[in-house]
């Protein structure tokens, strides 16, 4: 039973309308570009997307927003996206904003089989409304539940045929957390190698969490805020 599939279209072929997806990445860094393109091609609709950000107008999750494939975004920050703003204001798109650390830890909880976690983020703010609040050592914490997602779609630098993954620099971000949290997890990698080529001490995501893996056809890796040193 091989986890290796030929390409993004094959990897996402079972994703249906109405699915709950997790998509790795921070800004445009470490996003599963090839799977996003395939989801746009497939035209699957009514999606709930759990992702720290929502891409920009013409890249990342922004491409799915353009095609109105997303019903709900669960994110920590959704700036810099005009179409997103239009759909939000028109009521076409639902948005749930979550503190970034809470987003990360709710993924971790799912991957580690913890039904819920306590975090102080948002205590005393409107984020706490309707949530269970509990004091530990005199400090308030919110009870936040593990995510349940049908699919997690992540992007790694290197992967092997067992599904073991290694990420590169800050393109790691949410990817290893979401990889653990999906009922089914699809990984796209820049370099797919045979089992045994990766150093077992340096694996970030063990293959047990990965169901399908493929080498992405190409990566644009667009830069959102190109910033350079003053000469």
């Amino acid at each position: 039973m091989s986890k290796v599939v030929a390409n993004a279209d094959e990897a996402i072929r079972n994703i249906r309308d109405g699915a709950v997806l997790m998509l790795g990445g921070f800004g445009l860094c470490g996003i599963p570009e090839n799977c996003i393109s395939a989801l746009v091609r497939k035209g699957v609709k009514d999606l709930t997307c759990i992702s720290n950000n929502a891409g920009v107008d013409d890249f990342g999750i922004g491409l799915m927003l353009q095609k109105k494939q997303v019903r709900k975004m669960i994110s920590s920050y959704v700036g810099e996206n005009a179409e997103f703003e239009r759909q939000l204001l028109s009521g076409e798109l639902e948005v749930e904003l979550i503190p970034q650390g809470t987003l990360a830890t709710r993924c971790l909880a799912a991957g580690y089989g913890m039904p819920a976690i306590y975090t102080p983020a948002g205590a005393g703010t409107e984020v706490a409304e309707g949530k269970e609040i509990r004091s530990f050592s005199g400090k308030e914490y919110l009870l936040e539940y593990a995510f349940e997602a049908d699919y997690a779609i992540v992007k790694a630098w290197k992967g092997d045929t067992e599904g073991n993954l290694i990420y590169h620099e800050t393109a790691r971000n949410f990817n290893p957390l979401m990889a653990m949290a999906g009922r089914v997890t699809i990984a796209e990698v820049e370099h797919l190698v045979p089992a045994g080529e990766l150093d077992p001490d340096c694996i970030h995501t063990p293959g047990i969490y990965i169901h399908q893996i493929f080498q992405g056809a190409s990566y644009e890796k667009r830069i959102e805020q190109r910033t350079v040193r003053k000469a």
Binding site: C29, Q100, G101, A104, T170
Partner: protein, 218 residues
């Protein structure tokens, strides 16, 4: 003369101590990195998963896999380490980050902070700010003393939706350096040439002035 943004950053940099791990927010806080005092070593944390932020890259050396929390291309220093977002906020929650510097729209005399949402405007999200303010053991706010309409941002109570409660320890504005105490804002220093009277008039929250207040010296 009110402090420039660079001078606010420069003043905040004096709060750094040798060996500190520091998280710098977007805007003025980012500038603090340019003024780390000589002879001390500080490691900068980026909540998207890096300890050891270096300077911006040289033209042509930008790496799309290497960005800060503001999505800007960066570099690393020797001895840096990458990690995932859960560990990143884990170390923040566990109090391992010594100092966090953030911008704000409003700060209250209790140390509450509002910096993520303006009712009626498109809300972009809190990003990592709520996690940082709920967890960091030492939070300094860098901001202008008043908003563009001239209204005080240093208040008895925040009017905007809160980001966190009773968390800000110090505020450095273009006019003043303030400690947040049990009794209110204590005026520590004033911008050169700015009078205590002017600071009082632009501070809506309770301001405590004791003795002579020195000017910020550069």
């Amino acid at each position: 003369m009110a402090l420039t943004k660079e001078q606010i950053a420069q003043r905040i940099a004096r709060e750094l101590k040798d060996g500190f791990y520091v998280n710098l927010g977007i805007g003025i806080p980012t500038l603090v990195a340019n003024y780390i005092p000589r002879g001390i070593k500080v490691v900068l944390q980026s909540e998207n998963g890096l300890l050891g932020i270096g300077p911006f890259p040289e033209q042509g050396q930008e790496d799309p896999d290497l960005i800060n929390a503001g999505k800007q291309t960066i570099t690393t220093v020797p001895g840096s380490a990458f990690f995932d977002s859960a560990m990143s906020f884990g170390m923040i929650r566990a109090g391992k980050v010594d100092l966090t510097v953030l911008g704000a729209m409003e700060v209250s005399e209790k140390g509450d902070i509002a910096n993520w949402k303006i009712p009626g405007k498109m809300v972009k999200g809190m990003g990592g700010a709520m996690d940082l303010v709920a967890s960091a053991k030492n939070i300094i706010v860098a901001m202008m003393h008043t908003n563009p309409k001239g209204e005080s941002k240093v208040l008895s109570h925040c009017t905007l939706p809160l980001t966190g409660v009773r968390c800000v320890k110090k505020v450095v504005t273009d006019l003043a350096v303030l400690d947040v105490t049990e009794a209110g804002f204590r005026l520590l220093e004033r911008a050169p040439g700015v009078t205590v009277e002017e600071i009082k008039s632009k501070t809506e929250g309770k301001l405590i002035v004791e003795g002579d207040v020195a000017e910020v010296a550069f």
